[in-house]
């Protein structure tokens, strides 16, 4: 039973990766001749033929597809036609910046979202609950490019206390991390609240109260661990929002990460680069989702128990 569950999850992850890879190949081929796009209309036919042969674009389509697939499988994502370096090398240089920003934003959203959600659930329908819920809706309704610009306006241009762009000191990290973390903290607060409310209404909570366990102890030892399970899961699935958000946030703050690299590559029509970022991001996310799926069974003792029986 358990092995089958794992096998299905891994199979689906592989299929998704294959779909994305095929999608990338198809849009690359459907969009016209990449060499002509790169060299322009005025290029000599001999030059075009030379580059076409160099990149294997003169071969039949299915042959290109298999060659492309084999390349990806062996970690060869091609050359950036603009940077003239391997795509993977350029991406690898940008990854640390993105990780630094992404993890900080995740921390910000957890530090704000989870406590707010818990407080709201414990004070259900009181003013503080309403306030938290309004904050949550604000948080995920404000577009991050707008929040970023408001922060730059306030803290960089008017108060002049924080740098508006670039990377270097911790001060550079403050505004991008808040921008990226706010939306996630809003939805996290809402989710934590509803997860807590679910648990607080459970019979075992009433039992604990009836046998005289103090309120703080009930919340700490009975409610929180049980409410945490779905929250941890949803945290893993929020990764996609973080990735999409970082594309915009990195551009607003000129943060030298993968998101900004994608935007500059799309503007410069560096197709190999765009394709490499698309595939790397997709693979990372699929694997992360897979790990969350598998971890779910490991975190939740009930799933472990049912697996042991079956």
């Amino acid at each position: 039973m358990n092995a089958r569950f794992v096998a299905i999850k891994i199979g689906r992850a592989l299929v998704t990766m294959w779909l994305v890879t095929t999608f990338a190949f198809l849009i690359l081929r459907l969009s016209g001749d990449p060499i002509e796009i790169l060299l322009g209309d005025q290029a000599e036919p001999e030059v075009i033929d030379h580059y076409r042969a160099l990149y294997g674009l003169d071969r039949p389509l299915h042959e290109q597809y298999f060659k492309y697939f084999a390349g990806i499988a062996s970690g060869d994502f091609g050359f950036s036609l603009v940077d003239e370096r391997p795509v993977l090398t350029v991406i690898a240089e940008a990854v640390p910046a993105t990780l630094q920003l992404g993890l900080t934003a995740l921390l910000v959203s957890v530090a704000i979202g989870i406590p707010l959600g818990i407080v709201a659930a414990l004070n259900r329908n009181k003013p503080i609950d309403r306030f938290v819920m309004i904050f949550a809706v604000f948080g995920f309704s404000i577009p991050n490019f707008f929040l970023g610009i408001l922060l730059i306006l306030l803290f960089s241009l008017w108060l002049r206390v924080l740098p508006s762009s670039g990377m270097g000191t911790l001060w550079h990290l403050v505004m991008p991390a808040i921008t990226l973390g706010t939306a996630a903290s809003g939805s996290l607060a809402r989710f934590t609240r509803s997860s807590m409310l679910d648990v607080l209404n459970k019979l075992y909570m009433r039992t604990a109260a009836a046998k005289g366990v103090p309120r703080l102890r009930r919340i700490q030892w009975h409610a929180l661990p049980n409410a945490a399970i779905p929250v941890v899961t949803v945290l893993g699935f929020r990764l996609g929002d973080l990735v999409a958000g970082s594309i915009v946030t990195e551009t607003v703050f000129a943060w030298p990460g993968v998101g900004r690299l994608l935007v500059t590559s799309v503007s410069g029509r560096d197709l190999a680069m765009v394709q490499g970022i698309l595939l790397m991001t997709a693979f990372t996310m699929v694997i992360a989702n897979l790990l969350v799926d598998l971890a779910y069974g490991w975190i939740d003792p009930r799933i472990r128990a049912s697996t042991a029986q079956g």
Partner: protein
């Protein structure tokens, strides 16, 4: 003949009705609905409301502040770097953003719902294939795919609207499939089928109206996401291209003038924010009303 007391304080029925009304339609929801209505009216009547066309330039009056910050009374929200009236541009930008978002959301809803019906009708391999696509789509951030497609195909308005349209289809497909599968086993569907109705009749005349409320709620949840996607892409410079304008495009162009003329960026941003906020509030409220299991939360 005695007359009923007319004062609200003394009339328990009227005050109960009012309290019930306030409970059913909270002020925040009403305010949001009013704002959505205003946005729709502005989009529909842009020509009537805008003092100028969105491309009309007044080069003698460039980067003028709004009237309340000491600018000329002629342009009460100021002008941009080409001396174009911000009020007029906001009105037209709202129209473009709203129309594109409605088109985009509608396309996604149609594609997703259709695929959901197909999956539930054919079952087997077709269902597996569609659900596999749904999973693949749901596991990737859409902005990434959208930017990749635009990078490869170049930018044009039709493609941009189609891309926005594909956004969110997987939610409708998943919802529709689940609801159709359960509806197919219910008495009314079985009865109509026994009477000899064709599958198309059953789906379009009987099942679709029954599941429509859930789909409409999904539409209101998807709509602000489409607006955010459009404005994000236009902000990054990959969506609506000048001379056309949208709220995201205005905001992106206004970035260059933050220090000298902050209102160019802040005003369209505020419109985007208030619009998505209102739709989210109304959408949440609708979902709570349609879904009794959530009512206690």
């Amino acid at each position: 003949m005695t007359q009923a007391p007319s004062s609200g304080l003394a009339d328990p029925v009227a005050s109960a009705v009012r309290s019930r009304f306030r409970h059913r339609y909270p002020p925040l929801v009403l305010a949001s609905a009013a704002l959505i209505a205003a946005v729709l009216i502005v989009s529909l009547a842009a020509e009537l409301l805008a003092p100028y066309h969105y491309t009309t330039q007044d080069l003698a009056n460039r980067l003028r502040p709004p009237a309340f910050l000491g600018g000329p009374a002629l342009y009460w929200l100021g002008t941009d770097e080409l001396g174009r009236d911000i009020v007029s541009r906001l009105i037209y930008a709202t129209r473009f953003s709203v129309v594109i978002a409605i088109l985009g959301t509608a396309i996604g809803a149609a594609i997703g719902t259709l695929l959901g019906f197909i999956a539930a009708h054919f079952r087997g391999f077709v269902e597996e294939a569609i659900m596999m696509l749904v999973d693949a789509q749901a596991s990737l951030p859409f902005l990434l795919l959208a930017l990749a497609v635009l990078a490869f195909f170049g930018n044009n308005l039709t493609l941009f609207i189609l891309i926005l349209g594909i956004n969110g289809w997987e939610n409708y497909a998943r919802l529709t499939r689940g609801m159709v599968l359960s509806a197919n086993t219910q008495g009314y569907a079985v009865a109509v089928r026994a009477l000899g109705a064709s599958p198309f009749m059953i789906y379009s005349r009987h099942i679709l109206p029954n599941i429509a409320s859930v789909l409409i709620v999904q539409f209101t949840l998807n709509f602000p996401q489409t607006i955010l996607l459009e404005t994000s892409m236009s902000f990054l410079g990959f969506g609506i291209q000048p001379p056309l304008t949208s709220l995201g495009q205005m905001l992106g162009a206004g970035r260059a003038h933050l220090l000298s003329a902050w209102w160019i960026a802040v005003l369209p941003g505020t419109v985007i924010f208030l619009t998505t906020l209102s739709i989210s509030i109304v959408g949440d409220w609708l979902r709570d009303r349609f879904d009794p299991t959530l009512r206690n939360r």
